[in-house]
């Protein structure tokens, strides 16, 4: 019988399951689809670790400082210290699992990534997520065969089983048979970002619906910084979604420009001479937005100066992808790019040990608000998922109450999914309110529109959850009266350290959403 139930089988879920298995603890790994279909396989550019293999005197301290600064000091410094100091160990572990990272003559090669002055990003061409996932899936299989990890593919999270601020399991539905089961045990949520809140408008998968986050929020689990949404500077529109053009394109020498009098104007390099095109994503996305607003036209990614060796050895997958979708060859053509929703820094609120406000309920990976503060650095997402998975499993081992109850099949009616029409309506409201540039007037208008929508008819369980989540996101953005990282308010364009606090969104038992601010923990001594 499983004692720990993990929701989600992407990088965070797999990492947690392996850590538990290494300690002899069994778990149920629950996901609607197999790990090969998880959003983690879409990660491209790489994973950060100050391995210092490129002769640049990089240190874990540098990685720590860059991550905190990149997130504009909204992240928990103790959590970030743990993350960055353990990053080299995580990448070495992946190497041992057989991840064929690009290599120098003797060691793992690192590339430049945004917001970091030193080469720190380990990679496997431009399909790093997929290649890491393959190795990790094999490792999980080893423990599956030994019986410690039991996979439940095609199983879907319905809701938490809770009592008095404690979680004792989850209700799960088999999507193939419709059968509902109450799984009893401690629960770790690794359910990914809230992409489904913005259908077709993000670089993510259709599987990351945001329903898990919306449901647990409704059940009383608090969210942190839900207003912090990352717009990736370089995405292209393809049928049905935004497609990512990896930051590695700029890390390897790609440059952003607009055309002025038939000349290329490299606006980032002029304004930010030191990091240029590799400023943190929030800065680049905002500059792109403003330069388009000022001059009109498109922003282009100029990769025409990249060498043939770079294309062949480091970015071959990216070139194929661009040629496939745009019928343009980045070796010779400028690529029109736009900002697109890519990552959710906010989410389920946890402490540095990945505990939520419910006993026996933990969360890791993109579904949490951990590690990235107001803006995530490229290369830190896979690290956050892998390390977060491991850290949460270690916390579970130390603190969870291991329940002994058997799983129980239940006969309850299946909740109706949110209607696509409503999802689109909510998405439009959120897109209007939570763009790259925000202000009070628009946020109030969109909150009003959401209220009108909420009062239009009676909604199903999932629909109500989504409406409440949307309200939490908008109200968090309204209450944060400053500009920080991905949250830019034209009416409060400066950073205000009175708001250097975590936005906390809570939903009470009468479905009222409350927003408050919690101080960031003080940093303890160095590790």
């Amino acid at each position: 019988m499983q004692k720990v139930i993990i929701i989600g089988a992407g990088l965070a879920g797999l990492s947690a399951s392996v850590t538990l298995a290494e300690h002899g603890i069994s778990c149920a790994l629950i996901s609607l689809q197999n790990s090969e279909r998880a959003q983690s396989v879409l990660a491209e550019g790489g994973i950060n670790a100050s391995l210092n293999t490129m002769g640049e005197n990089d240190t874990v301290q540098n990685h720590y400082e860059d991550t905190l600064r990149g997130g504009v000091y909204l992240a928990d410094p103790n959590a970030v210290q743990n993350l960055t100091f353990h990053a080299p160990e995580i990448v070495r572990w992946l190497e041992k699992l057989g991840v064929p990272f690009n290599m120098t003559d003797s060691d793992i090669m690192l590339r430049n990534f945004g917001g970091q002055k030193k080469k720190r990003t380990a990679y496997a061409r431009s399909s790093t997520g997929k290649i890491i996932m393959t190795a990790l899936i094999d490792e999980v299989r080893r423990y599956e065969a030994g019986g410690l990890i039991q996979r439940y593919p095609h199983h879907e999270f319905i809701q938490l089983l809770t009592e008095n601020q404690a979680c004792y399991g989850v209700r799960i539905q088999d999507a193939y048979t419709g059968k509902m089961t109450d799984f009893k045990g401690s629960v770790l949520l690794c359910s990914g970002g809230m992409n489904g809140v913005f259908p077709e408008m993000t670089t993510g998968t259709t599987q990351n619906s945001g329903d898990v986050t919306a449901t647990v929020f409704r059940q009383g689990v608090t969210l942190g910084n839900p207003e912090m949404i990352q717009y990736h500077p370089t995405t292209i529109g393809i049928s049905g979604k935004r497609c990512l053009v990896t930051e590695a394109a700029r890390g390897e020498g790609g440059r952003l420009c607009i055309m002025q009098n038939q000349q290329k104007y490299y606006f980032m390099e002029e304004k930010y001479p030191e990091l240029g095109n590799l400023m943190p994503r929030d800065v680049v996305a905002r500059e792109m937005y403003f330069i388009r607003r000022k001059y009109g036209g498109e922003v282009f990614l100029d990769m025409t100066e990249l060498s043939s060796v770079t294309w062949q050895k480091k970015l071959s997958d990216l070139r194929q992808e661009i040629m496939h979708y745009l019928a343009l060859d980045p070796k010779t053509d400028l690529i029109p790019v736009r900002e697109g929703i890519h990552y959710f820094m906010g989410g389920i609120d946890t402490d540095e040990y990945h505990r939520t406000n419910f006993r026996n309920l933990y969360a890791a990976g993109e579904c949490t608000c951990q590690y990235h503060g107001a803006n995530r650095l490229g290369g830190n997402s896979m690290l956050g998922a892998l390390y977060g998975g491991r850290k949460s499993a270690e916390t579970i081992i130390k603190t969870a109450e291991f329940l002994t109850e058997e799983n129980q099949e239940v006969s309850v009616s299946v909740p109706e999914k949110a209607s696509p029409v409503l999802i689109q309506k909510i998405s439009q409201i959120l897109l209007s309110g939570l763009g790259i540039v925000r202000n009070q007037e628009t946020l109030l208008k969109q909150l009003n529109a959401l209220e009108v929508l909420a009062n239009q008819r009676t909604y199903s369980f999932y629909e109500q959850n989504r409406l409440l989540l949307a309200e939490a996101m908008l109200r968090s953005a309204l209450e944060r009266r400053e500009s920080r990282g991905a949250h830019y308010r034209e009416d409060y364009p400066d950073k205000n350290d009175n708001f250097r606090k975590t936005t906390i969104a809570e939903c009470d038992d009468k479905n009222r959403v409350r927003i408050s601010f919690r101080p960031i923990p003080e940093k303890r001594a160095d590790i």
């Binding site: 689809q33 396989v41 991840v99 064929p100 997929k130 290649i131 259709t206």
Partner: protein, 230 residues
């Protein structure tokens, strides 16, 4: 404007008698693909077509199905290919048990890998191997099995979807697993593969299957390593 008749083989549950249903579909998006069409269709019809999808950019293999008699990913199949004919036939993969409509149960893919013990039992020495990279790209979508003349569910031959993950291990064959893994490779792959290489033509990831197969055969069957691989 693309105007198409989508003919979809439907069934409500595994025991249901399959039947074709036809839907008119129109879009102004000249780049639209089958995945987009199915998503939009489902927003309009009373009994949505059940199918699986995830990444929508041919990186996850979820939406593999048989489209006009060919196993493909719905997200990688542009509608304009069929606009001249005016109709496209969509059905589930045929070598796996059908769950409903276009959803099939592909668990045999993963069971085969477990049977063959596809994992590194010791520290991997794949350092920077381009072959390990190529082998790692397999989507486990099942298209290769659909087209394979030698694979059938429940048979001994595990097919190309098991060959590629095994090839990843064989690029850096661990000493402690040498005997067992080579034996499994010969039994479940080498002896069953008729080398038709039809899989190569349908692999949505465009994996260099021949190269990996040659290397794996060399290592597991002929006990030698190809010189060109690092």
């Amino acid at each position: 404007m693309i105007t198409l008749k989508l003919e979809i083989l439907r069934r409500k549950h595994p025991e249901d008698v399959p039947h074709w249903e036809s839907y008119d579909y129109q879009t102004e998006d000249e780049t639209a693909n089958i995945a987009v069409a199915l998503t939009e269709l489902n927003q309009k019809i009373e009994n949505p077509v059940r199918w699986e999808c995830s990444c929508l950019q041919k990186k996850c293999g979820a939406c593999a199905m048989v489209i006009q008699n060919r196993p493909r990913l719905a997200c990688d199949t542009p509608l304009k290919e069929f606009s001249k004919a005016g109709t496209v036939r969509i059905e589930p993969l045929r070598k796996f048990p059908v769950v409903a409509d276009l959803i099939v149960d592909r668990s045999i893919l993963f069971q085969n890998l477990e049977t063959m013990k596809v994992w590194f039992a010791e520290e991997a020495k794949t350092k920077g191997s381009q072959m390990a990279y190529e082998a790692s790209r397999c989507l486990q979508c099942g298209c290769c099995l659909e087209i394979c003349p030698n694979f059938y569910a429940g048979g001994t031959f595990s097919g190309m979807s098991a060959t590629l993950p095994t090839a990843r291990l064989l690029t850096a064959l661990p000493e402690s697993q040498k005997k067992e893994l080579c034996r499994a490779y010969r039994k479940y792959i080498y002896e069953g593969c008729g080398k038709s290489l039809a899989c190569r033509n349908v692999c949505p990831a465009g994996i260099e299957i021949d190269k990996l197969l040659v290397n794996s055969n060399a290592v597991a069957v002929w006990k030698r390593k190809l010189k060109h691989e690092t």
